[in-house]
């Protein structure tokens, strides 16, 4: 008897426990976790930098408040550190970041407005397909040799156009199979000519410039040697650089230390040479958690925050020595997309089952799915309130964002109406069927391990089940998913993210052009020669071809507004939300002007340390 009672109690506890498990999947919060977004620290950017000529040297004068010299700034990178310090070999973000600190480009992006502004160049002029760049006079490499037009011509002709090292810049400026050309006019003037007017080329001129007297020998030794040139094993003393900082030491898996360039061409309003900081250190940390611990232990001066950490840091902020900045939505776009493919694979089988093709290729079906998605709830529960619902193909901080495309909320009635129009119906159990009496059921994929996307997947599944659809949510390993998207094409619906450029919509050409390698929603492989584009796909192709050839910003904006309108109407991608970038920086650093385009340390040469002044 005792045993039976005992057994019953255990059984009861088990059921009770399981029940709470079932409910605890997605916690429904009533109150926003923390209000970080509405409270932003007012950033008043300094006036734009000016060109000033002193004793024949063309300096760039910073207009930010004058600071004190000295000190160290410690930042971090996540992962295994840089793979190379050669700016023309970098294939990952960390390597690019490191080489961008050391090598300046001709032009750069104004971090406040997104305009193209001169950097190593004193000025530039664009006439159709001709770009005339005037260099600053009196500038020197770190070994004392002057920076001249020869370096620029060498960099572009013998490295970039010649396809040495990482060829992604070269590949992106091939226009109808032809490359631009570069010519020296005099020692301080160069001219670039593109085969046709090609707007994206201007921003490419922010690519670093290499010292000819150092790189020439390496380039001559061929590609295999160039791959190892200025690798992480190179002696820091052998670097000849032009940037605000120069490498001092690299300790594998621990840190990269940079020292200030004493002869940099940016000066303050007292005509003292910047940067203020003596040293810039990047610690190499393996993961996010360790980074947070290091910031809390004061081993780091800056940190990017995510999720629950934001709330915690925000509550710590008033009595700590750091300030939390909201840099606005990031450049990432998270989306849900359906496979519109109606072609067959090599074995003569359809990539997508024919009945599903009818659903996915139907615009009203896609719109019904879109209206059923509860973006506000996802921002609230998954992003801890730190996100903006997204409805456009361009990211929210893009200078080409079409502001006429209005956001909306979940609207199940509208979804049902759209489905009814297309002959879908519901049975007594509220299950959805199409007009051929097929139950609407499909697979939803995302990459396993990405907790954010997995959480979105669960919520999308719930939202679509409200419509009577049956969704089989299957997180799969990242590589298998990429293989599905790029090669085998056997998927129904997927949640993915892409990072775009907020400055140049043409960087999304691979996604939007019907022949692009990432035209996921209707991916065409090499063998698919037949022209079976939707009308709106044809229009997108035209827009992308013409948009790149137009030079004037307003003219380009018109094209890219239209592409966003098409994406908004046709819903090949159903965008979900953009996470907001939050950064914490210690208060002792002054002249900190974080922007959404430039991040928190875009003006590293202007940042200085003032221990006395608190918030």
């Amino acid at each position: 008897m005792k045993r039976i009672i005992f057994g019953l109690i255990i059984l009861f506890l088990l059921i009770w426990g399981l029940k709470s498990c079932l409910h605890a999947d997605i916690p429904e919060t009533e109150q926003p976790p923390v209000s970080v977004i509405d409270e932003t620290h007012q950033i008043i950017p300094p006036p734009p930098q000016k060109n000033v000529t002193i004793d024949g040297v063309d300096y760039l004068q910073s207009q930010a408040p004058v600071g004190k010299f000295g000190g160290t700034f410690i930042a971090s990178t996540i992962g295994e550190g840089p793979k190379t310090f050669n700016p023309f070999n970098s294939r990952d973000n960390i390597s690019s970041l490191m080489s961008d600190i050391m090598y300046d480009g001709l032009l750069t992006t104004n971090p406040y407005t997104g305009e193209v502004i001169p950097k190593l160049a004193k000025s530039f002029e664009v006439n159709g397909s001709e770009y005339i760049i005037e260099l600053r006079r009196g500038l020197k490499w770190s070994d004392g040799k002057p920076i001249t037009a020869d370096d620029v011509v060498f960099t572009w002709r013998d490295i970039v156009f010649a396809g040495v090292g990482n060829t992604s810049v070269r590949d992106s400026i091939v226009i109808d199979g032809e490359l631009p050309t570069v010519a020296k006019i005099d020692d301080y003037t160069v001219k670039f000519t593109t085969p046709k007017p090609f707007a994206p080329f201007l921003r490419m001129l922010s690519n670093p410039i290499a010292p000819k007297h150092v790189f020439e020998a390496a380039v001559k030794k061929g590609n295999a040697y160039f791959d190892t040139f200025l690798s992480t094993n190179a002696d820091p003393k052998t670097f000849v650089t032009s940037g605000a900082f120069r490498i001092q030491e690299y300790i594998p898996a621990q840190r990269v230390t940079f020292v200030r360039n004493p002869d940099y061409y940016v000066i303050n309003t007292k005509d003292e040479k910047l940067p203020y900081l003596d040293k810039l250190v990047y610690l190499i940390v393996g993961d996010l958690n360790n980074e947070v611990l290091k910031f809390e232990a004061k081993e780091l001066d800056i940190i990017g925050l995510q999720g629950a950490n934001v709330a915690r840091f925000k509550t710590l902020e008033p009595h700590s020595d750091f300030t939390v900045y909201n840099l606005g939505p990031n450049t990432g776009t998270m989306y849900l997309t359906m496979n519109l493919n109606n072609r067959k694979n090599e074995d003569g089988k359809f990539y997508v089952e024919p009945k599903k093709q009818i659903w996915f290729r139907n615009r009203n079906f896609r719109r019904a799915v879109d209206y059923a998605i509860d973006r506000d709830n996802m921002v609230f529960n998954i992003a801890n309130g730190l996100g903006e619902p997204l409805f456009t193909a361009e990211s929210l901080n893009s200078i080409f964002l079409n502001k006429n495309l209005k956001p909306y909320h979940k609207d199940l009635a509208k979804s049902r109406e759209l489905l009814k129009q297309e002959g879908f119906y519901w049975d007594k159990k509220d299950r959805l069927f199409d007009k051929y009496n097929n139950r609407v059921e499909f697979d939803l994929y995302t990459n396993a391990g990405n907790t954010e996307r997995e959480a979105i997947g669960v919520m999308v599944k719930q939202d679509l089940e409200d419509l009577g659809m049956k969704v089989n949510f299957k997180p799969v390993e990242f590589n298998s998913l990429v293989n599905k998207l790029a090669n085998t094409l056997d998927w129904d619906m997927v949640i993915m993210g892409l990072t775009g450029s907020p400055l140049e919509p043409n960087s999304g050409k691979n996604v939007w052009h019907s022949r692009g390698t990432l035209h996921m929603f209707n991916q065409r492989l090499e063998k698919d020669k037949k022209d079976d584009r939707f009308d709106w796909e044809k229009r997108l192709d035209e827009i992308y071809d013409k948009g790149a050839l137009a030079i004037d910003f307003n003219e380009r904006k018109k094209y890219y507004d239209e592409y966003q309108q098409i994406a908004y109407d046709e819903k090949p991608f159903i965008y979900i939300y953009s996470p907001i970038v939050i950064t914490a920086i210690r208060d002792k650093f002054k002249n900190v002007f974080p922007t959404t385009l430039g991040g928190a340390t875009h003006n590293i040469e202007e940042i200085y340390i003032d221990k006395e002044g608190r918030k």
């Binding site: 160290t72 410690i74 992962g79 295994e80 793979k83 190379t84 070999n89 294939r91 990952d92 390597s95 990482n166 060829t167 992604s168 590949d171 992106s172 791959d227 190892t228 690798s231 992480t232 094993n233 030491e249 300790i251 594998p252 898996a253 621990q254 840190r255 230390t257 250190v281 610690l283 940390v285 393996g286 360790n290 611990l293 290091k294 809390e296 232990a297 004061k298 081993e299 390993e477 990242f478 590589n479 298998s480 990429v482 293989n483 998207l485 790029a486 993915m496 892409l498 990072t499 775009g500 450029s501 960087s507 999304g508 050409k509 691979n510 996604v511 390698t517 990432l518």
Partner: protein
């Protein structure tokens, strides 16, 4: 002479073993669905041409057998190849091996110096309160998962500020005096060493205790005692020498773990050793780097066993005479 012949035979035996290990690992890595270019494929600004060129550069366009042949050929020549980002594998390993060795050698030295005497002491004081307390402590040591213990200690370091949060040296390491450098290293090494020490000490102490207890119970120890030998001689000349045999085998395994045994702890403490390097290599399917580390592990294991066997021949006349 006989020993030399034995060693030669053992080395020859390892060759087919290493070949099998290399084939199995190469094929497992290459047949797994990890695509080293997956990240690139999903980057909108990467063109088809770039992808094609990367595929050729990494040799992914050739059949696996050809890839293996190419790798094996250069491996025999002593060339470990380059990583997927173009760095020399040998240089990469050379950067990390000293750090890992520094950690593991300290740990092994400490555990043996402390663990063996503790084991002997526990066996000699069998069933006394001392022995019972040691049993409880070592059970705790064996039961704590190393990563959990490491995380706890990290939180301790953050909260108290007494120890640095991971890493091996502080940012101004190069400006310190020699004494300062040693102190800085010790400061950084303390927590990871503590974790590994606690975990392996427990096992070693239990092993030593059990061995000695076994031997103490044997006939020849009883006989030695009956013969009227002093207790010191009985234990340290007769019993201990017999009890140490299994420990030597264990030492062989410890040798194998010199380069790979601390990977998990290294990862938690952000220690710049081989563990982090290899973990990233596996995730990115960086074939040359993974193969080099796997082969290194296999060779270390074979070598460790060989050393243990030779040591056994030296210490144990019974094996020598066979």
């Amino acid at each position: 002479m006989q020993i030399l012949l034995y060693i030669l035979k053992r080395i020859l035996q390892t060759i087919p073993l290493l070949i099998i290990v290399s084939i199995v690992s190469f094929f497992i890595i290459r047949l797994s669905p990890v695509d080293p270019l997956a990240e690139l494929r999903l980057n909108p600004s990467v063109s088809k041409e770039t992808l094609q060129r990367e595929t050729e550069r990494l040799g992914l366009d050739k059949p696996i057998i050809v890839q293996y042949g190419k790798w094996a050929k250069s491996f025999i020549k002593g060339d470990l190849g380059v990583t997927s980002s173009g760095e020399l594998v040998s240089a990469k390993l050379k950067e990390r091996i000293p750090n890992t060795l520094l950690l593991t050698v300290i740990v092994i030295f400490l555990t043996w110096v402390v663990g063996v005497p503790l084991g002997v002491a526990a066996a000699l004081n069998w069933k006394t309160p001392f022995d019972r307390m040691m049993t409880i402590l070592t059970s705790i040591g064996m039961a704590i998962p190393s990563f959990f213990f490491a995380v706890l200690l990290l939180i301790f370091a953050v909260k108290t500020g007494w120890f640095p949060v991971g890493g091996l040296t502080c940012t101004n390491f190069n400006e310190l005096s020699f004494g300062g450098k040693v102190l800085d290293l010790a400061h950084h090494l303390f927590l990871p060493v503590l974790v590994l020490f606690t975990i392996s000490l427990a096992g070693l102490q239990r092993q030593m205790r059990a061995n000695l207890l076994d031997v103490l119970d044997s006939d020849y120890v009883k006989f030695a005692r009956a013969k009227g030998l002093s207790e010191f001689k009985v234990i340290y000349k007769h019993a201990l020498r017999n009890a140490i045999n299994p420990m030597i085998t264990l030492l062989g395994f410890e040798f194998a773990g010199l380069l790979s045994g601390a990977a998990l702890t290294e990862y938690v403490f952000q220690y710049p050793g081989l563990g982090r390097l290899i973990l990233e290599a596996v995730l990115k399917s960086d074939i040359n780097l993974v193969m080099a580390s796997l082969m290194m592990g296999a060779i270390m294991l074979v070598l460790g066993n060989l050393i243990a066997d030779i040591l056994l021949i030296i210490t144990d006349p019974r094996i020598r005479d066979k």
